[in-house]
Amino acid sequence: MFVPSITNPVGDFVREWVPKLAEYLPASIQSDTLNSIVAFLINAVICVIAVCLVNIGSAPILIYMERKVCAHVQCRLGPMRLGWHGTIQTIADVLKMLFKEVYAPAGVDKFVFFLAPLVVLIAPFMVAALIPFGENLVVADIDMGIPLIIAINGFGVLAILLGGWSSNNKYSLLGALRSGAQMISYEISFALVLLFVVMVAGSTNLMAITQTQSGTVFDWWIFKAPVLGFIAFIMFFITSTAEMNRAPFDIAEAEQELTGGYHTEYNGTPFAMFYLAEYIALVTNSSLAVTCFLGGFHAPCIGIAAVDGILTMVPGVVWFFAKVFFMIWCYMMVRWTFVRPRVDQLMSFEWKFLLPLNLLLLVAGAAYVALVG
């Protein structure tokens, strides 16, 4: 029998109303099993629609935001023509993308070429299903949260390697190989930092990790584990930037060296899928940072009852997305202010600095947990 998974008011509402509506059906096909299956399917559809809205809806907003942040960092105005301050510019860009020709150049492995954009979108959507957006707002509240996220992130590397190899273009291949080496190297630090969070929080369930941070700002893991939490947060920031192939770690698609990197040969909507995946990954990685370090959907209470009363009146989802957009803004500022390192500097930074530091962090965290509890 199905155990209802979506434990929030919407899910309960569906489960309550499906049996009531089923009474109008002929008595011969009524059954509790059918009711629970139908309720489950309706809930699943609601989940799918909600996650699609959050993911696909956020991409145009983020592209607009990135262009504006970039412009203002460089003392420009950015898009200004279409709509108020260029707000509908990205919608026009999406329409333009839809009407571009989709074709594979000569010498391309067609099957793999069109498979790569499909694979690249798998990871961000699955991670989005695991993130607790609010008190009851999580699609799949499973105990395997963190290991599953580490595992799914591997799909990103796979898609880039598929796209780069199939393109039959030297720049694409070079970009894909560089990106593969970079992403698997930084994935180790990514996993080890999440391991630190698992250790101090004592759980791999993302909802449980969020619940350990309830209370004031100083109960968030960035501050709760003194100094260590902050170091872990900075390391998560660095490694997730590298995981997303964003500047300053964007050697995979360094325009000045490799024209476009692994997606040089792509055009039309398949290219748009790579772009979309990049921005959804920005949302999911920021969400992960917020969940693990910045208290998830908890309000930033400061311990004064009067202020906290007002802060907690705002729903958790709002706090969650406010923090996520703050994180995204940080990623964007880093992208437009730092310069890109060379490929050998990038690799030695990971293997000779981040990884030893990460192991030290784990040891220090183990000592902290053993002593303080």
Binding site: N168, L177, G202, M347, W351, G373
Partner: protein, 126 residues
Amino acid sequence: MSEYIILSIFLFLGAFIAAAATVVGLLLGYRTRKTKNKMLPYECGMETFGNARIQFKVGYYVFALLFLVFDVEALFLLPVMANYKEIMAGNTALSPVVVVIDLVIFVAILVSGLAYAWKKGILKWE
């Protein structure tokens, strides 16, 4: 259980959306004749020579091997770390001292592996 059923839906959701977008692009996009210049790889503007799928340097392979070691390490540490707090609080049948000694041995072997690779000069990118 039902969580995993929903997750398996999400496993195909992204791929389905990408496939739908590709089909929409194929239907809506305008088409031009496939001339020789259009089908050329986008490289330098010159005639391209040779195949792009060449054998590439072995350095990448060594990094992949090292990655495998450390990622499996993270995987092995995960169940211990998830219960580490409980073990240290003495709520389990395991003795905290023994667990710590085991962890130290485990991490020491890995660190010595990294140190060996470092000393051998494998980590140097050239």
